[in-house]
Symmetry: D2
Subunit: 285 residues, 4 copies
């Protein structure tokens, strides 16, 4: 694993010998500032000390943080609008989040960060990749779209979702549902409406907890545009708490799309190389 990262670093240094620091955004529970990946719901690595290995091998200062955290930093600092209090929600295979409060990533006392994708929205709901039942991720991710798409195709074998899957010679995926929805299929659009509704309700909860200036939506599913965003906004407003005092903030697509993670990791690496070099706290066990 580390070998692959080192190869990428070498590649970049070949192009530009002014590389001054390494920044990594990784899926899963990453301990800050030690850069240790503790656990991840959708892959195998456990307690991988990425930052230390990178620094030793490259001789460069490195930072390793959760991918949604660094994407959130990029969006808050360098996006079309600057925000001090925002959440980036990535809607891809899973649901990730980067919470920026007072201009800084919220990481919690042990540096493990915020995981709004695993906020429970229905304890009797479908099982999540993390093992629990009814996480936001289980209802509002690409994985959820795949599950709903398969169920819908089973109910309508002549419909567009089932037909597209048959043509592709494979099972229904979230991508196929997205294609069908963008081609005007009402069933596929209704699945986005259900997904967006769950997402919007989660966002309403986030605003009840945090008061936000914006919610920025990233991840692969945001390519579906208004198919995802319109029902999300509708549900967030419908479930807003005390909206006369704390209105639902703008819910906007990410400025940098899939590149937000890379940009944010670089931004964090540069800042950290400058500011924090001297005083890294010890990791909590």
């Amino acid at each position: 694993m580390t070998a692959l990262l080192l190869e990428m670093v070498d590649e970049l240094r070949k192009d530009d010998d002014a590389v001054a620091a390494v920044g990594v955004g990784a899926a899963g529970t990453v301990e800050w500032p030690t850069g240790r990946i503790r656990w991840a719901p959708n892959n195998e690595y456990r307690d991988w000390n990425v930052r230390a290995e990178l620094e030793r091998a490259t001789g460069l200062p490195a930072v390793v943080d959760n991918d949604a955290n660094v994407a959130g930093l990029a969006e808050a600092r360098l996006g079309d609008v600057r925000y001090d209090h925002m959440i980036l929600v990535t809607v891809g295979t899973g649901v990730g989040s980067g919470i920026v409060l007072d201009g800084r990533i919220y990481r919690g006392p042990h540096g493990l960060g915020a995981e709004i994708g695993h906020m429970n929205v229905n304890p009797d709901g479908p099982q999540c990749g993390c093992g629990n039942f009814g996480c936001l991720e289980a209802l509002a991710s690409g994985t959820a779209l795949t599950r709903m798409g398969r169920s819908a195709a089973a109910g309508d074998p002549a419909g567009m979702i089932a037909t597209l899957a048959a043509e592709s010679g494979a099972e229904v995926t979230g991508q196929i549902v997205t294609t069908a929805a963008m081609a005007g299929d009402r069933t596929a659009a209704s699945l986005f409406a259900r997904l967006g509704r769950s997402l919007g309700i989660g966002i309403a909860s986030m605003n009840a907890i945090f008061e936000l200036e914006a919610v920025v939506i990233g991840g692969g599913l945001v390519d579906a545009g208004e198919l995802l965003l319109a029902p999300t906004r509708r549900a967030a407003r419908e479930f807003a708490y005390a909206p006369s005092a704390r209105p639902i903030p703008p819910i906007v697509p990410a400025t940098f799309g899939g590149d937000a993670g890379k940009i944010g990791a670089a931004l964090l690496a540069l800042e950290d190389a400058g500011e924090h070099q001297g005083h890294r706290p010890e990791p909590t066990p």
Copy 2:
């Protein structure tokens, strides 16, 4: 309304002429630091400028904050154990919350604070006092206990809950359910188990978002002790996200019980009188 507060202040000053500041903890959405009550789900006042009125009438510096916020401050700073990262959850008529991060109350950019009681836990759930459906408060408050108790009594007119209500000549209340549960009634205990399960699931969500050192439970229902706390802890652990990396913290009853609000309001008044007097930000509209 203000008249009642002023009478209380006068009363206190009669006893002790060294009163140096006034601190108020109020239910509802209170704007910090202006001390304006913006909205409240369970009573009528709207946009009441409490702090300004108190300062004008008493000539003393005053602070007005959400009641769970100040109770949280008291528990975090002066409770049996000191915490830097904790949530106080009050379980009374409603569900309130005070979030302490890095030793300070989290209030959000406009000072309206955190309302975890209105985090959605089931969008098809029962209606909440705030108008939405399926808030944590709608499933895990005294109001929820009353609703569940009435439904259970309707299903079992000869049971202890119905009998106690008949003896009291009134409808079933949360208090009657509590009495029955403490007297060993299994139906009443099962209602606490359902309530605690919802509460514990909400706490698991909070820990996925914040990483906490403790969750402190206050409010009237905590008098039920383990009847409430045991199922709460069980559900929080059952729904913990990535518990090997971020275990569920201790879930403990409040040190100060019903007095936490008063103590915290005084603590805040004293601190504020000292520190923040000079630079109050303008309220956001």
Copy 3:
């Protein structure tokens, strides 16, 4: 109440002196064959002996049955297609049902009939007019549409639903949601999609229990046509049990619309006058 019925009978006899029998279809729990209305969720009468009063006052044989029962009979016997095993589901203020098995109305051992509108589809769901939580009626009736419409309008005060209500000078009703949906409003259409989804899931359950040749949808909301029927059919097929062996039957609008009740009551009166006159069983207490 009886006076009103008698007036109608007199009116009809004035026009046609060959009136041979009286047939009544009434909302609520009607005991067959005694024609006693035992209880009704949405109005006040309790234990009203309608049939006996009518027979005494008119000197004619009378039958009184649940309104959905007689509407189901009309649809099964006289509709565009004849069925031996079908359910009529009326979707109006409430959700009623008439189950026809082997060509006869299913009435149960005490003649109280089938109430699929009060089948539970979500025990933590919204409260029903009957007092329970999460009945099919609470999620798939005009009352549910009104509730969802008000919630949606609160979340989108500039939307078509809220605008139509403001123009009419009244609160949002199911009728306003229907108007908005038929005028192309996506929010209103999405409420029909949610309502139809609940209805379709209920129908899938019915088919798992009964095996049906058809499900006929009557009541006021069927005027919305495919807005209601398309999501209903989709969900019924999605949630079909063992569909290779027991496919979801056709789900079709009622042939007689709002007149099915009258036609069925007359049909029942004529049949009963002929066949069953001699051997009325005693009512069960």
Copy 4:
């Protein structure tokens, strides 16, 4: 498969040469009276023509019906109390049902029978063995108990459920949860309370549809006695529709326990050999 059945028949005929007919009760969707197994959620066979094969091989008249159907017949006709309108619900690996109306098994127009275990009770609920989400079987069967037990053990690794599983060297099963509950473990008892609550709500729905004289509970989990039955009865009464007119009937354990299926299959074989020999309808495709 047929070989195994034939061996059993031979065995029985060796003991008693007066064997006059063969009766079989089989899990899954069995077509009556053809005795063809069409589909089954928890095993592999599809379209197995059991009755024809048995009759050909043995030269005896045979009947093959759904196992819960024949168990229901045994309980209704030969149980401690005789019923004309009842449901037998078997709570084992899955949830089966035999509905007896007017003293006869309800089988539907194509003879596939009633499957109340696949009535939907929460469309966002956990996945069922049949592929759907939120069937009664997914919430109120031994499979559900296993799932809940594993989740509870994960949340409480030192609890009795986890301990018993560790001692047995295997994963948590419903049997282990039952053992723990009967030994007084409160967590295990609370899982039975949740299971029974779902079952009771399903029974309340059945009574709203059918009006019943009794609900008889069979299957392996009924061995847990009041641990299962008390919360079932409580929830059925709590969710009863119009209970003044249609009260929840007695909910009682099966008279014959695990033998009800055998007894009912024999009863059906004898009756059928006598009565129906001449006029078997053709199967519907």
